[in-house]
Assembly symmetry: C2
Homo-oligomer: 208 residues x 2
DNA sequence: CCGAAAATGACCCAAACAGGCTATTGTCCG
DNA sequence: CGGACAATAGCCTGTTTGGGTCATTTTCGG
């Protein structure tokens, strides 16, 4: 298993090198202090430990670039912060893992092993924040506003796909006027006043 | 740490009981074979191991119900399948963990510990599938269509919030007519023909 | 079996919108 | 300097939408 490291903090980098060097399963290919240095002599690593806070190009900015240049490379973000925004940015840009520097060495080795085997490595607290993105909207939405009926949900779904009144009516085999009435009721329940607002609310609050 | 189990497969349930009983940190409150049985004599557990495939009400359907009735209860889904759809459903309904039955006993204990400490417990392969939901859309979207200008993005964002032409104009200190023109250009680039479609595309492809 | 809620349908009207065309100004790049 | 593009602005026309009010039928739970 070929591993590279990009981490500017010399002391911590040496620790990582030591940990990885302790196991014969792991082969350290490259260990540098910046993305720029890494790109000058790229190693064909399989797993990359990438710091977020780096001098020059940040780890977050390097992520999509590295993923594009080395397809198949698994990248684990290493960071001191478990900042919500950083986590989501990293994940959206293709990170395969996100672990905190304060983690025990064994956890870091586990993470490398996990991503090598095709999994993703998240510390439990990071995983919690990721999951929050899914069930936050769902839990807070059904509370406030009135519930939509099945028919209304059906029509809202079509509106959300940009279908106009005429086509919705044709689709559901009902009169356009009836569609209009349903839409009025939907607006009242969602407390919106236009299709654009309805679509926005429907998508953001996972009503569809 | 108070733990309950809902699992219909008797043999596996007994294994779980045994594993949990082996540690003095854990206190087994209740161990039953169905959601219905659990609701009849609810225990004030802190962590619940919940099977997905259950006779009667499924674990997925019970999830929101249990979460509502016992706020603060952490639920770990236990299942044989790592089916994509089940995972996402469970997460959207508030699961705090999702682990496979074939996991080593130690992993299950770790998961309980992790959710108890406020984290989320996902096996690496499940985590991979969750992450895929984030970086899939981002990678495929910026390809096809033409890029929007800064002004167009600004206006698209306002449209996405349901603001009408008049208000957008007032907001940006430009003429409503100019806003109309920008919107026409946005429509052309996004290949849509209405605000609703534009909002839908903007939100679904993370353009805003 | 009755009443509430949902689904269906209609009319009107003012406002908003979509699409077509033209035009001026500014900026940036080759 | 000249062309490309973005941002600004106007006009016209037909369509769609949002809001108001009313009425009939169906469905479902008490």
């Amino acid at each position: 298993m070929k591993i590279s490291i990009i981490e500017d903090h010399t002391e911590f980098r040496h620790s990582l090198e030591f940990i990885i060097g302790s196991f014969s399963d792991f082969q350290l290919m490259s260990s540098v202090g910046s993305v720029e240095a890494y790109l000058q002599q790229p190693a064909d690593a399989e797993v990359l430990l990438l710091d977020i806070n780096l001098p020059g190009m940040s780890g977050l900015d390097a992520l999509p670039l590295l993923k594009k240049r080395f397809p198949g490379l698994k990248v684990i973000m290493l960071t001191i912060l478990d900042d919500d925004q950083h986590i989501m940015t990293a994940i959206c840009r293709g990170a395969d893992g996100y672990i905190l520097k304060k983690s025990q060495p064994q956890k870091i080795l586990d993470a490398v092993q996990q991503v090598y085997e095709g999994g993703a490595a998240l510390t439990p607290l990071v995983a919690r924040q990721v999951l929050a993105f899914f069930h936050k909207p769902v839990t807070h939405s059904p509370s406030q506003q009135e519930a939509l009926t099945a028919r209304e949900l059906e029509i809202l779904a079509l509106i959300t796909n940009g279908v106009n009144t005429e086509k919705i009516a044709a689709n559901l085999f009902i009169s356009p006027q009836t569609v209009r009435n349903h839409i009025k009721n939907i607006y009242a329940k969602l407390q919106v006043h236009s299709r654009a607002q309805a679509v926005s609310k429907a998508l953001r609050e996972n009503i569809v």
